[in-house]
């Protein structure tokens, strides 16, 4: 029986919330958060639109094959997922008594890993609560910390890393790129991408 799933899926106030109407959906949530951050940061949105226009042009829809040529797009997706990991908590079970960071961990105990804390650690990220896609545009791989620390873990890590990473990322890439390419978005009411309505004006393509 999983406590973690329950914590992830159901904020304690909404046990019987219908998953399909108001509950959390991870891939869809990721798409909404990415778009939400872009709408809240018009400069980033504009820069991203320019990148898509220069790589894809205005004749056709952005394609998954274009993604490797769009570093700024990748940085925006990474940065939004850093701030809003779709599955913030995940679990491991300790298989034998061992030492972790100098403390004894008994066999069989549940480990709750908080990706949200890990990816907002002020010791590792400058201005951890701000949306700054440029931090992923450096020469070195910014998803790895000093001494190869795993500082960017939206899909977990190790052997038990999420096996659906490819499936989820490909869906996120093709939907977000198309949404930014085709429409201008504006938030109406609400206090964030979660639950607020978005409206848009059509961009002339």
């Amino acid at each position: 029986m999983s406590i973690i799933n329950c914590l992830n899926e159901y904020p304690f106030q909404s046990f019987s919330q219908d998953l399909f109407t108001g509950g959390t959906s991870t891939t869809a949530d990721a798409v909404l958060w990415i778009l939400g951050e872009l709408v809240n940061h018009p400069a980033s949105f504009k820069k991203l639109r320019e990148e898509i226009d220069s790589v894809v042009g205005t004749e056709r829809l952005a394609d998954e094959a274009d993604i490797p040529n769009m570093p700024y797009f990748q940085a925006c997706v990474k940065e939004a997922m850093r701030l809003h990991p779709p599955v913030p908590l995940f679990d491991r079970v300790c298989r034998e008594d061992c030492k972790l960071a100098g403390h004894d961990i008994p066999k069989g105990i549940t480990m709750i890993m908080n990706a949200y804390s890990i990816m907002r650690d002020p010791k590792i990220w400058d201005n951890p609560n701000d949306f700054i896609p440029e931090r992923f545009l450096t020469e070195h791989d910014s998803t790895k910390g000093p001494q190869n620390l795993q500082i960017y873990v939206p899909f977990g890590g190790g052997r038990r890393m999420c096996p659906g990473t490819n499936m989820s990322s490909s869906l996120i890439n093709c939907s977000v790129s198309a949404m930014v390419q085709c429409f201008d978005w504006k938030v109406v009411g609400g206090d964030g991408p979660d639950g607020s309505k978005l409206t848009w004006t059509l961009k002339q393509v």
Partner: protein, 317 residues
């Protein structure tokens, strides 16, 4: 009146704290742990509920606050359920890399609890062992690997175009779009089609059935998970929910059996070089392959799709 209540509250907290300290003093069993035993630090507890009162409606934010206040490695007791909270990259890296093998198991998902589906049928939460290793390999090389995902590109593209035209339609009417709902539909339809060539919304009866069943099981699983926090309550909860607990797996079983049989018939008609295979077609090939490293059972296959379905709608890693 309000001041009175606040004072009573403080007194009640103090009494609880006092009782806790007292009981801990009485029941302390010295010498049980070897010398030098050093458990992770732990925030102050309350009797019975342990650290449950520290949970906030959005659990990860509450845990984040605990991390800021008490440190990155904490021992917690959620009522009767002990757990260790990890909130920093150095500790996480130790778990993912140096000690990965020590932490290569996962807790059971509520959907795979004995009550619902029987043990040893799952993959995503299977204990670290041969079955998990075999399925992981299949997932990485065939099912969920990048080459298979490239083959399914058109499916995603079609669903994105469908979504965009819906947005266009709404925009031409100058309406406001409920983007949360529309994106959810997009994600669910694309996922359903990649897995079993059926859409989740609209007229498709099977997908609709599946969807209803999923939301019912989430509800049931959440209730069971809460019962589980309170040891003895679990039995009462199980008893109370017994009818649903018996019905849900049976319905899943029938539904997935139907879908599997349809796919098997399609495979017979299409032969080995069938085009546009979905994930179910591919796993069925592994299932029928007599030379495979390991034979998977029909039940394992059904649970696999159930969990992949549940987890793409809400990734359970």
């Amino acid at each position: 009146m309000a001041a009175m209540t606040a004072i009573q509250y403080v007194i009640a907290l103090f009494v609880l704290w006092f009782i806790t300290v007292f009981l801990q003093y009485i029941f302390k069993r010295p010498g049980k742990k070897p010398a030098g035993y050093c458990p992770p630090p732990s925030p102050p507890t309350l009797p019975l509920i342990g650290h449950l009162h520290l949970l906030t409606p959005v659990a990860y934010k509450g845990f984040h606050a605990l991390n800021n206040k008490y440190g990155p490695l904490l021992y917690l007791r959620l009522a009767t359920y002990p757990a260790v909270l990890v909130s920093s990259a150095p500790v996480a890296t130790e778990i993912f890399k140096a000690q990965d093998v020590h932490f290569a198991s996962r807790i059971k998902s509520p959907f795979e609890d004995n009550l619902l589906f029987g043990s040893s049928t799952s993959f995503f939460n299977a204990p670290y062992g041969d079955y998990w290793k075999f399925m992981k390999k299949i997932c990485m090389t065939e099912l969920l690997g990048s080459s298979q995902m490239k083959k399914l590109k058109n499916v995603r593209h079609e669903e994105v175009v469908r979504f965009l035209s819906k947005m266009l339609e709404i925009g031409q009417k100058n309406d406001v779009a409920d983007l949360s709902a529309e994106v959810l539909t997009l994600a669910n339809n694309a996922t359903c089609r990649m897995i079993m060539s059926a859409r989740c919304s609209g007229e498709d009866n099977q997908a609709d059935q599946c969807r209803g069943l999923v939301s019912e099981s989430f509800d049931l699983a959440a209730k069971l998970a809460v019962c589980n926090l309170f040891g003895p309550l679990k039995r009462i909860g199980t008893w109370y929910l017994r009818k649903k607990i018996a019905a849900v797996p049976k319905r899943y079983d029938e539904l997935f059996e139907n879908i599997l049989v349809e796919h098997e018939e399609k495979a017979k008609r299409g032969g080995p070089h069938m085009e546009n295979k979905d994930l179910m077609d591919i796993l069925l090939e592994v299932y029928h392959d007599k030379n495979a490293e390991m034979r998977i059972t029909r039940k394992q296959m059904k649970t696999f799709f159930l969990v992949i379905f549940l987890s793409s709608i809400s990734l359970l890693h």
